[in-house]
Symmetry: none
Subunit: 220 residues, 4 copies
DNA sequence: CATGAATGAGAGTTCATTCAT
DNA sequence: TATGAATGAACTCTCATTCAT
């Protein structure tokens, strides 16, 4: 009996995997093409060529061009959201250590997705209001662990009493800046150098007077 | 002779003014349309309607659509560059005062050109390499007075020995953030509040330990 | 031997029936979809969904979309042709009675196949010349029993000496009108009323002066 | 003063005429292409070629393909409606004479627009509900003068007491049949012969017993 | 200087058909 | 026998650009 049902489950699983891998293949191709030509300049034919499939097939996996854009952006933001928490957990409970680890990892993900990050800035206005809303929500979700660290830091008296919201968005902007101003920073800094320089810039602004000495090691 | 040339000069001046006012009229219309629809969605017909001229006329003043985009972006960046210096001069010679005044004014200009600023982020990849280069140069030019203030501040021992380049780009990013994340900040802050909050965030990071007390008034 | 062949025959018969039932299933589905969306708007996927089979299977039973259309139309016309004769035989030998019975039955079949009839008018131009020819032949074949009745009626002096061909095509047009102008007639007449009204209209035109009285009962 | 306003009026008039002639040119081309290939088979490129304009221009004068179809059909029906009344007035006041003249002219218009008439049957289902409604209204409008003649004839005791609505639709069907079954009738009849044959068929059905003799000349 | 009718290449999207499973 | 993923040509429609007036 299990034998009879198994094939069906397998078949379904196979299809699910195939579907998912096609989506991934197409999303990767889409980001690759968009990074060089931009969303509007990307023709569906060009995308098909890049992904090595036919144009028609794209429409089996995505509702249309805009749907593809939304999926690509959401895909990136999902990565941010899902990777941030574990990276922060890895360094323990100290709010400052957690925040710095979070920022560091955020920049690293940005570095691995330079074009995708730029994409979220360039093309989100292209989406319909619903899609835009979705993206804003994701961005806020993503910032949640950072915000929690800031709030914990303030509560523990380790950080100055600044608006956590502003602090978090500032950190995200500085992380995004690595992508947005890559033309400017790349010749001057490696990612690692960029991260350290920004931490050196930001920490003094955050740390409460009494706590500054305890985190000297984070600023070398 | 003077009699003959005078009318001509006037005619030329009239033409120059008219030409210039036509360009302005078209640029304003272009920014107005782009802010709602985006560059790619803007049809030349829509632009012509907005500017109350015929499509054909646009091509008398601009080489084409992309040329118009470049002109619009350059136009905005010119404003930044030209207004920053005077605003900083108005507060005297103190590097810290100058830097804060510069940042304050920068954000104010951003606030008056929200859509235009977003435009520079969204559409610069659309331009040809030459146009992109032009924009980067302008951005660097714009940052010059801010950089000078930072360098002066460091030289005078008023500011920490940070990379002036990084500091300036950070300040610009935080100013741009008022436009880029306007959906997030606008419900929480007025421009004035945003400026003060950011100054409170940034100054502690910049000021040398000994100088902090002297600029308490800037952070209220 | 018989033992070996019997199963095969059964198998073949099963296959034949299944083939035939598949064809029928598909034709019914096709007519059902076409009646709501039209032939050109009907996608093979929609047809497959309606028939609850896969797209691929359709091509095992029909050469393609146009082949399917021809089959659907021929199917309808076959029904007309095959049902008319028996219905006319049922009323005996009198040419007028036969003609009226034929017309009556014709309208009734039209009523049961409203969309299919409209289909023959709407889509026959879609077919290739050969297919069109086939349909014209079928229509002529279908009209044969009616024509025979008219010719018999004229020969017997019961009907006026009109062109039988014209009479028959007129009758068919008036029958088709029940489908073609259904939007107009349906709110005003039931089928039964429509048939009687048309008989009352047509009979006086057909009946020879001396015969009129004998068929009063047909006109109530 | 008049001089200043005149040019504008002329300019407007010129544009109106040009617009109208473009529409006509396109409608004629559309009917020409549709008659050979059918609406769905007609590509906008084929239409453009036939009309000797560019594809883009078509969209300046029509909202799209379906709009063009509606316009083409309406155009034909308008001709029917506008030409019927004058033709009937020309023969005087006698209801029977008027009806016959109306029918005769109706068939003649059909003969001049064979493909267009077939078009109205083939493609009206293609239109959206609003367009379909429009067409039904036009058809009813067109039938008005015929209906008036029938009603007058019945009131005057010249015609049998049949449903005028049915009579009129029957006449229209028989007129349309000249187009719908042209493949069948054309080899057998000229238009003139067809008209006379149909009049001979229909009049006996309509005329009241007493009036039959007075209209013998109409049936030759 | 100013117009806007006209162009036509190129876009996104659909869908009849095929074929490996 | 039956499937449905994959194809790619063909479709309608848009719009930057030109040019006769």
């Amino acid at each position: 009996m299990a034998k009879r049902s198994a094939p069906m489950e397998i078949e379904e699983a196979v299809r699910a995997v195939r579907t998912s891998s096609r989506r991934r293949q197409l999303l990767n191709a889409a980001v690759a093409v968009m990074q060089t030509t931009g969303f509007h300049q990307m023709s569906m034919q060009a995308l098909a060529d890049q992904a090595d499939v036919s144009v028609g097939l794209i429409y089996k996996y995505f509702g249309g061009k805009e749907d593809l854009l939304l999926a690509a952006i959401v895909d990136i933001l999902d990565a941010f959201r899902d990777e941030l928490d574990p990276a922060m957990d890895a360094v323990g409970d100290d709010p400052v250590e957690r925040l710095v680890a979070g920022f560091r990892h955020y920049v690293e993900i940005v570095d691995e997705n330079l074009d995708a990050v730029v994409l979220t800035y360039r093309e989100s206005r292209t989406l319909d209001p619903q899609g835009r809303e979705r993206i804003k929500e994701l961005e806020v979700e993503t910032s949640a662990p950072l915000r929690a660290a800031v709030e914990a830091g303030i509560a523990a008296g380790l950080m100055n009493d600044l608006d956590p919201d502003l602090v978090v968005f500032n950190l995200m902007m500085l992380a995004h800046a690595w992508a947005l101003k890559h033309w400017h920073f790349a010749p001057r800094y490696t990612v690692e150098q960029y991260i350290r320089a920004q931490v050196r810039f930001v920490l003094p602004a955050l740390l409460a007077p009494g706590a500054a000495d305890d985190y000297r090691h984070l600023m070398e």
